[in-house]
């Protein structure tokens, strides 16, 4: 009896299917519980990986719910790469469609934030722009400048108070009532998480997309305070160069 890896894989991920033929206990009898060692290793290790990757999602729904949900997720979306640090990239879309999670509508945004934290943590190193580089630009050319952002920078759009939901579940505190798009940067080795106003997020999204400063500012509306946004970006080492 030839046991193929297709049979093995199918039985590993489907607890209701019998172990493949051709697997033996030492007494020659068809293996069952011994096959379950592999089944258990796969399910537990992938569930653990998801729990490590999404600690705030886990906290928001509770560990029992999370592990049951992870069991569904890992069978629908097994890893496609041995690089497990980024496992779970389908989690936001999965949660958005997962019926038992609909009572917590901001879960997909929290999952996006937690994915971005890991991508930021492992992003390429970059040398930040000198803080005075902007001051050296002639004022009449300022509207034409564009910025290059560090690869660790991520902007998570959200209509929920995302930053304070994340903060309350990692550091404590109250959850805000207003929408909070969230900025992720990496000043050195540990990612930083900052709340933005929707206007700041709109300007920043345009700058990240490569729009010139003058065009990006049109997304901010009247009285937009550019100094506050640039000050935050500079203090977080989020900018690596400026082009005129």
């Amino acid at each position: 009896m030839i046991t193929t890896q297709t049979q093995f894989r199918t039985a590993l991920l489907d607890p209701s299917s019998p172990p493949p033929d051709g697997l033996r206990n030492p007494d020659g009898v068809q293996a069952t519980k011994r096959f379950d060692v592999y089944r258990n290793n796969v399910a537990v290790s992938l569930t653990d990986a998801l729990e490590t990757a999404f600690p705030v999602v886990n906290k928001l729904v509770g560990t029992d719910f999370f592990r049951a949900m992870a069991g569904v997720y890992l069978r629908a979306h097994p890893p496609t790469s041995p690089v497990m640090m980024f496992y779970g990239s389908d989690m936001p879309d999965f949660l958005a469609a997962f019926a038992p999670a609909q009572s917590v509508p901001y879960l997909p945004d929290v999952a996006r934030l937690e994915l971005a934290l890991r991508h930021s943590y492992h992003a390429a190193d970059a040398t930040p722009m000198a803080p005075d580089a902007l001051g050296q630009i002639a004022p009449d050319t300022l509207p034409n400048v564009t910025f290059t952002f560090a690869p660790s920078v991520h902007l998570i759009a959200s209509k929920y108070p995302l930053h304070s939901i994340w903060w309350a579940n990692t550091h404590g505190g109250e959850v805000s009532k207003s929408a909070q798009p969230t900025l992720i940067t990496r000043p050195e080795f540990d990612p930083a998480v900052d709340a933005l106003t929707p206007q700041q997020a709109a300007v920043l999204a345009a700058l990240i997309a490569g729009d010139p400063l003058g065009a990006a500012l049109r997304h901010g509306g009247a009285d937009f305070d550019l100094g506050t946004l640039l000050g935050l970006l500079l203090s977080r080492n989020a900018l690596i160069s400026i082009q005129t």
Binding site: M1, I2, T3, T4, Q5, T6, F8, R9, L12, L13, D21, G22, L23, R24, N25, P26, D27, V29, A31, T32, K33, R34, F35, V37, Y38, N41, V42, S45, L46, A49, P78, P79, T80, S81, P82, V83, M84, M85, Y121, H122, A123, A124, D125, P151, S152, R186, F189, D190
Partner: protein, 281 residues
């Protein structure tokens, strides 16, 4: 590019590196003479993991130990993953690269476990072809590690030791002898671990692994040991190490502790025991 080679791994204890031990290791590594990393944990583009390796590689030779290449897979090796391994090895320039006699990827699903394969001439050819591809891509010899087995395949028609000997002869690869895996497999499948060592091609061994396991039973009440890397090395495994070293001579000895990772001081105590075993060789 870094240089973590120092030519080869020294015949001293090493440990599987965990990021939480960085400051302890930099301050006082005790008897630890080299470090091993799981390749897949260092495949990001930058940040703290690679910065820590940059510092540690100034003090220690490194072993890069892959856990995801699926060398025993029925399909082709993942070319993207092999390229990532090459990038890491070219950058770190480790003293050793090793992988497992196992498979983990099938139809593009990575199952995050070291899965078993039958021992036949057909699987010898498949594994040997994959090892040829790894060694030619990386431009270096690799070591192949024996698995922990929980069950046997009806279709196997050769012993694991004959299988490993034939792979080493065909490909020129070295072997990573995991003494805990020998003890686990021998207990689970009902053979003598000493006879396994007697039959094992010890001349090809470039590194020895030691780790802890969990104890369970199968449905008939027979012992079922499970490789966990989450506990102390047990006395019968230390005894099997002594038996092995008496035949093989001194080798680089690694303490693997990957789950429920203890404080650095606990690992140092374990490496002192490994140092004693080497001193008796």
């Amino acid at each position: 590019m870094l240089d973590a080679t120092r030519k080869s791994l020294p015949h001293t204890p090493g440990v599987g590196y965990k990021a939480q031990h960085f400051n302890d290791i930099m301050a006082d590594a005790g008897p630890v003479g080299w470090l091993e990393i799981h390749a897949e944990n260092y495949m990001g583009m930058g940040g703290r993991p690679l910065a820590q390796l940059r510092h540690l590689s100034e003090k220690f030779p490194f072993s890069v130990h892959g856990v995801g290449l699926s060398i025993g897979g029925e399909g082709r090796l993942d070319a993207d993953h092999l390229a990532r391994l090459k990038t890491l090895c070219d950058w770190l320039n480790p003293a050793s690269f090793s992988e497992h006699l196992a498979w983990s990827t099938h139809d593009s699903a990575f199952l995050n476990d070291l899965l078993p394969l039958p021992y036949t001439q057909a699987t010898v050819k498949r594994v040997a072809d994959h090892i040829d591809e790894v060694q030619s891509t990386l431009g270096r010899q690799m070591l192949l590690e024996n698995p922990s087995s929980y069950l046997a395949f009806a279709e196997s028609d050769m012993s694991e030791t004959d299988f490993l000997a034939e792979i080493a002869a065909r490909t020129g690869c070295g072997l990573l002898l995991d003494v805990n895996n020998v003890f686990v497999s021998a207990t689970n499948l009902g053979y003598s671990p000493q006879e396994y060592i007697d039959a094992y091609p010890l001349d090809h061994v470039g590194e020895i692994h030691l780790g802890g396991h969990d104890e369970d039973e199968d449905e008939t009440g027979a012992p079922l040991l499970i490789d966990s890397h989450g506990a102390h090395v047990v006395d019968p495994v230390w005894a099997l190490l002594g038996y092995t070293l008496a035949k093989s001579g001194p080798k680089p000895l690694l303490i693997e502790w990957d789950t429920d990772v203890p404080e650095w001081a606990v690992l140092v105590e374990e490496t002192k025991r490994a140092e004693t075993a080497l001193a008796l060789t």
